[in-house]
Symmetry: C2
Subunit: 457 residues, 2 copies
């Protein structure tokens, strides 16, 4: 069938929804370094993780299978918004006067308004199956907390969320949304946990960080055998759940006979980026396609481009296993940029390993350029992006302008991982001229090195 | 092809998008009464409307054609979100334990998060075509103002919005969103217009009303030949633009072999309800289907169920033509319910005429029952509804529970005309126990009668 040149949305039917998640680990040239026990520094096994996660997720975390079936109960929930649309950004292309073709996979159609329910739903499902009655978690901008609250409401589990103070104050509607889905929410650091009280004693005015909020949620989960903890990014199984994004995008681009030349995605913990790119990376490693694949991070929190690749804790208090990853130091508190979901000191160990293997590139972009791209996108494509994917859009604009200069019909693919309707206070500040860029000077890099835990190797 | 019983979204391709709007007027048993000049009380002609509207829209307002082609420039914008999905509410059905099948047409996928862009886009397009440089308008909850701001940004027209003070204060994110799309916004009543200053002099603490905001926007447009006014509901051409909703829903239900027994939709000015139901009413008048079609309005602002069918002004200051409609009196200021889009003293003259002809039913529901339905919907279907469509959802729940009692497999169709992500402050107040019901006592009905303009007939 002929392709309509004006076609804007490339849709899939529910019958075309992927029925398996893709696990990239067995396809990599070398396996990623194992996580280590924080006390013994020995590689940890499934049992070490059992106080925090249900066994089904732990087995996914260490799985050597390339594909894992998505349970039908999870698929039935995915049907509420999946397959998500792939858009051709005709109007943005016209505004940029570029010969590039820009495609964006839009995850804002989910109940939480982002890609996060793709993993929240299976996490809640597996926990419910194993008799867990309550999940604790952290959230930055609030996308993950919303997603887990929604998922828990479907499987009748309680949900308690610690939200980074800076975002809690900036985005008051998130609290109401998380409560609408039936969960409880606290600003972090809070006086409810030992980890929170310690941070507050040292820095009463701290804006908080994802690392601190993780410590709080982990502490509460570790104390009660009926409570488990859920993480919205970073871990292998979380990244794997997100691969439905890229699998769908592969099918959708095939429907319009396009192959991407460049794929850009924003990275905080890495799950959105991995979800979009791992299926394309599989095809690239198999020699079928050859796109440039690039992670985009905030200049204020540049774990891939400026951090060290070393063993570090996932949280601030040092309660998690040690993971080899690109890190700015587990006690680094990023400046209060509005992309709260990207304010994380580390990067997914799996993604860090892939970056270290030279399979992907990375760049960092300051937030003002990102907001400018976000506003241009809203005024052309109609969707107000969350501050996180404005980083991907700023990178897209850079690529489109490069294509304009070279005259090449570059095919750019990106993920618009969430809308910004609950981040409007940030846009309000942008229009008021209150958004500033933050520097990440060399001293910070050196300082981070001195604070890494000492691990042999 | 067999229909998957678990199918949740019934989608259409862009190629299946309706290419014509449906004008119900020539299909009605009798024509609706004409609008009258406010001074002479004689029927008005196209020229009388020319200071406010472009001629293309005026000709649509009085058209006797059953179908009007949608310009390709408008279709290209519709592609950003149309065709919108029709959902089967499997999880809500299960929670209600009802044999009813519940379908909802979801318009929250649009850039403004509601059905309003369906008419904002053609209105901005026709104005731009006729050389208009700026549009003024009113907005209640903010859905319409957002939609027009978005549409104007696409066709390079300035946009100035007066938002009802009660909503302006309750929903601060709307301001940021409207500004993101490049428009200017003021709370109404404002000191910028004679109409606003008069109201403020008499009632400095007024929560405002759609009637007052219309007066302000009309006043500014009438003073400058390059400025026109745009209305988000009430008028024939606005209702007609919305019929894409119902045309798509007809196709979508046919794809799953279903015929609605009951159609319910919320009504403020009437455009969402008309958009959903007019194509079904056409089929019903042709004897092909026989659904009950029912408008649902707030108990605090019950123009159809408690208002008088008489000639009245569309605005508070008495600047618009006189229209025969169900009205609570043009100077009625509804209680500050959160469904700001339903706080209008009148009802679309066309819809009023159809109601008066006995072709549709109406009911009113108090806001607490609506919020309860909205929260139940969010926790089962994942979408937080705007306060306006919670009225349609409350009516849907009533019908589903009736079906449970009778054991009938009633097919219910409704429109979820917008999401509530910019209305989270209202949900916050609901959980805090701060939402109250408002009474509309018989004295109010009597009082309204005394304030109607005197028109012979």
């Amino acid at each position: 069938m002929a392709i309509d040149p004006k076609q804007t949305k490339i849709l899939l039917d529910e019958s075309e929804m992927p029925t398996q998640w893709y696990n990239i680990v067995p396809d990599l040239p070398a396996p990623p370094p194992p996580p280590l026990h924080p006390g013994t520094h020995e590689p940890i096994g499934p049992d070490d993780l059992a106080p925090l996660f249900p066994m089904a997720l732990i087995m996914q975390e260490v799985s050597a299978d390339r594909y894992i079936d998505i349970p039908s109960e999870v698929l039935d929930v995915y049907r509420l918004w999946r397959p998500s649309p792939l858009y051709r950004a005709h109007r943005l292309e016209a505004a940029l006067d570029t010969p590039a073709k820009i495609f964006y996979k839009y995850e804002g159609v989910s109940p939480a308004g982002s890609h996060k329910p793709n993993t929240a739903v299976p996490q809640a499902f597996y926990n419910a199956q194993e008799g867990v009655t309550k999940l604790t978690t952290e959230t930055g901008a609030g996308q993950w907390g919303t997603a887990l609250a929604f998922a828990c409401s479907l499987f009748d589990i309680e949900c308690e969320v610690w939200q980074v103070r800076a975002s809690y104050d900036q985005k008051p509607y998130r609290k109401a949304l998380i409560e609408t889905f039936g969960a409880t929410i606290h600003p972090s650091p809070s006086v409810l946990t030992e980890a929170g009280r310690q941070v507050l004693a040292a820095s009463p005015d701290t804006p908080g960080s994802l690392g601190i909020a993780i410590s709080e949620a982990v502490e509460v989960a570790a104390q009660d055998p009926e409570i488990r903890y859920a993480l919205g990014s970073v871990l292998n199984h979380v990244l794997m759940h997100q691969t439905v994004i890229g699998e769908e995008a592969l099918l959708q681009l095939a429907k319009v006979d396009e192959t991407p030349d460049v794929i850009v995605g924003c990275t905080g913990g890495g799950s959105n980026f991995a979800g979009l790119t791992f299926p394309f990376l599989r095809e690239k490693m198999a020699g079928k396609i050859s796109p440039t694949i690039r992670a985009v991070e905030p200049a204020a929190c540049p774990s891939l481009t400026r951090g060290t690749y070393a063993y570090d804790f996932g949280d601030t208090a040092g309660m998690t296993p040690l993971m080899k990853m690109h890190t700015l130091g587990h006690d680094f508190v990023p400046d209060p940029i509005h992309a709260g979901g990207l304010r994380y000191h580390g990067m997914s160990p799996l993604l860090s390993h892939i970056y270290d293997s030279g399979l992907i590139e990375a760049e960092s972009i300051p937030q003002l350029e990102c907001f400018e791209a976000g506003v241009q996108f809203a005024r052309t494509e109609g969707i107000v992006p969350a501050p996180e994917p404005t980083h991907a859009l700023a990178a897209t604009v850079r690529e489109a302008l490069k294509a304009k200069e070279s005259g090449e019909e570059t095919v750019i693919l990106t993920a618009l991982c969430g809308h910004g309707l609950l981040d409007m206070a940030a846009y309000d500040r942008f229009f008021a001229g209150d958004i500033v860029d933050y520097d990440y000077p060399e001293e910070k890099v050196q300082d981070a090195l001195t604070r890494l835990p000492m691990v042999g190797s």
